[in-house]
Amino acid sequence: MTSRYAELQVTSHFSFLRGASSCEELFAHAALIGIEALAIADRNSLAGIVRAHEAAKVTGVRLIVGCRLDLVDGVSVLVYPTDRPAYSRLCRLLSVGKKRGGKAKCILNWEDLIDWSDGLIAVLVPDTADDACALRLRRLRDNFGDRAYMALTLRRRPNDQMRIHELNNLAQRFRVGTVVTNDVLFHEPARRILQDVVTCIRHNITIDEAGTVYGAFVEGPQQEDGDCLIDAQRRCLMGLSLVAWDLRGFRKRRH
């Protein structure tokens, strides 16, 4: 039996100076290595979704609509709308943040997320299993109930197994499901050069002095097992077709 896997944390190059691969490349590679579905989750943006939708149609790999929200208090949450109204609310949430932040910024608070949280699945992106993480997880569980999850990502850094073990314990304590993600930033190893370069541009340094600045724990999508994962993914909004169809109708009505 082949294990089924869907990658829930993929960053495309629509996250400026963070991702290094286009949606087309990501989906083509996912189809090649037999991944069922990809969730494009750009930073505070849904800009990549349209391209991803087209790539998904071409390759047959399902698209999961997602977004990574970096809140002002340092919390990162991956959100996935489960239906069309939830997608609208997510768009509205981003509009609020971008209006507040001005050009190229997005200022969102936890309260904003709560205001527009109906129908969103939220996955907390934790760092280490400390008190701050516990607090955030409890807050997430209180507000999202059974739509709250926590991402477990192998970073390939010392003490990683222990970190994931502790995070898992924490999630069990708060009865929050866990999902496996890989934090994909590019689709094939050769793209690491571009990734390193854009990271240096983001930090405003040259590659020679980069040294250990970039904490790249970056991998191509890989096979993992996770029961919760499939569960969460099933509930997510699959593809944009639904929304796109409605948008077409909307445009007609306007004219």
Binding site: P158, N159, P189, A190
Partner: protein, 506 residues
């Protein structure tokens, strides 16, 4: 009649660069150009022989040079450093004559009047200069004539590679040379050629007054300097003064105690001299002239400029046992062969703050005993690759400001190079179950990993997709090791998938 040597270094900037790059210098057969900024455009300001042969010219836009020659090596020009190096070369040329000067930007002038017989005659002297420069990779041409102007012109337009013009003949020999040989501005040369004056002979045959009226006094002056009508004094380079103190003995000395006593006296004298100039010694050479005309020397170096009599005396006295006085020492000369500015400082009042402990004295004593290269400190380098994350710096080097990474445990000892081990391990992400290192098999009790380290592609092309997966493992006896697998365990392109032991904890 004076005799002047003009030395012409046609490819000085590229030769200097090649010398500076030493082992990393490109192959001499490769075309190499130096590029500088002239106004808004980048143009070729120097080219080596190979580049000139391929048709590249000085003054050509850098982009065109790149378009013309496929494998062109391009470096940035540095005229200031070139001029400084030329000054140093002039100091070197003092071996031939006491009057030498740098002829910026591409030559030297040596006043060889009455000096050439010391080097076996005029021809032999020029041959010696050229071959010595050739030996260190500097192309040179030289001409000897009666005046600096004539020698300058002949070195650039007639010497292949050496030319000695007999006395009183240089006036005649420069007549067929082009007027560009006269050290005139490029505009003047252009204008003269428009008038149909191509050679120096044409210029000499033209009445002087209209020329002066049109081109100013410079033209006449250069012409007179070349033909010897007016003199041209040479401002010689000066060697940096060496502070030294000397002691002669009527009765040869030999006992270590006596030597030590005179070392103290000489050091005191030297320090007084240094103080007068505001200098501190970085390197001291003490020469002993022996009765049988042999010379013995001891040398000490310091990490920071020092002017303390006690400290310097101690450093020198530590080395007395290396001196063999033989039949006796007639002369002792102490010279500060390297000195640096050394300002006096106000010491911090102990009421306010404890003065910082100064370890430079200790560094000096140790490095003079065990050797300068054997005393060093480690400094961190920001790099993920373990063997590149450490560098050796001089013992007294100032801190770079980088801290040691503390967020992840690293072994105190790294093996260089990493040693191959045999393992039993599952791919892709599992630590080995056991490994064999230096013949003994160890069972892995606990392990942490993998920690992935990527190759630094900007340093070496070969590291483009190279990957190492590091594991921290503990064996039955509780010893901890840092081992890695070359490659990511899936793709063979990322490494050989062989295992190595790289470090030992504790």
């Amino acid at each position: 009649m004076s005799r002047v040597v003009s030395l012409y270094l046609p490819t000085w900037p590229t030769d200097r660069l090649r010398r500076k790059m030493a082992a990393f210098a490109p192959d001499p057969a490769m075309p190499l150009v130096l590029v500088g900024q002239t106004g808004q455009r980048r143009e070729v300001v120097a080219a080596n022989a190979a580049a000139l042969k391929l048709g590249l010219r000085i003054g050509m836009p850098a982009t065109r040079a790149q378009a013309l020659v496929k494998e062109l090596v391009i470096h940035q020009a540095d005229p200031v450093a070139d001029a400084e190096a030329l000054e140093r070369l002039a100091v070197w040329a003092l071996r031939y004559s006491p009057i030498v000067t740098a002829d910026d930007p591409d030559g030297l002038v040596i006043d060889a009047t009455g000096a050439s017989h010391l080097h076996g005659g005029e021809d032999a002297m020029l041959a010696d200069v050229i071959s010595r420069l050739e030996a260190v990779g500097i192309t040179a041409r030289a001409a000897m004539a009666d005046t600096q102007g004539a020698a300058h012109a002949l070195a650039r337009f007639a010497a292949r590679p050496a030319l000695v013009v007999p006395a009183h003949e240089s006036g005649e020999r420069i007549r067929p040379l082009p007027i560009a040989a006269l050290r005139l501005s490029a505009d003047t040369v252009d204008d003269l050629r428009k008038l149909g004056l191509d050679r120096i002979a044409d210029l000499l045959a033209t009445p002087r007054a209209p020329l002066t009226l049109r081109f100013g006094p410079e033209l006449g002056r250069r012409l007179d300097q070349a033909t010897g009508q007016t003199g041209e004094p040479i401002e010689p380079v000066r060697t940096p003064d060496i502070v030294e103190a000397q002691q002669l003995f009527a009765e040869p000395i030999g006992a270590p105690e006596t030597i030590a006593r005179y070392i103290a006296k000489l050091t005191a004298k030297l320090c007084q001299e240094l103080e007068g100039r505001g200098l501190g010694a970085r390197r001291l050479d003490l020469l002993f002239g022996l009765v049988d005309n042999r010379v013995q020397a001891i040398r000490v170096g310091t990490a920071q400029p020092v002017r303390d009599v006690k400290q310097l005396t101690r450093l020198l006295c530590d080395k007395i046992q290396k001196v063999d006085p033989g039949f006796g020492i007639e002369m002792m000369r102490l010279a500060a062969t390297a000195a640096e500015p050394f300002a006096t400082r106000q010491t911090i009042s102990s009421l306010v703050d404890e003065p910082e402990a100064d370890v430079s004295g200790l560094i000096d004593i140790l490095s003079n005993r065990v050797g300068e290269t054997r005393l060093y400190r480690f400094a961190p380098v920001a790099s993920d690759v373990p063997e590149r994350s450490v560098q050796r710096v001089a013992a007294a080097a100032t801190a770079t400001g980088d801290g040691w990474p503390t967020h992840w445990p690293r072994p105190a000892r790294l093996l260089a190079p990493p040693e191959a081990i045999q393992t039993v391990a599952l791919l892709p992400d599992h630590p080995p179950v056991s490994f064999t290192w230096r013949g003994s098999r160890r069972r892995v009790r606990r392990a942490d990993g993998p920690e992935r380290v990527f190759g630094e592609w900007w340093k070496r092309d070969a590291e483009l997709i190279a990957v190492r997966d590091y594991f921290q493992v503990e064996d039955d006896a509780g010893e901890r090791f840092w081992i890695f697998r070359a490659g990511d365990g899936e793709d063979a392109g990322t490494g050989s998938h062989k295992w190595f032991l790289h470090g030992i904890f504790g």
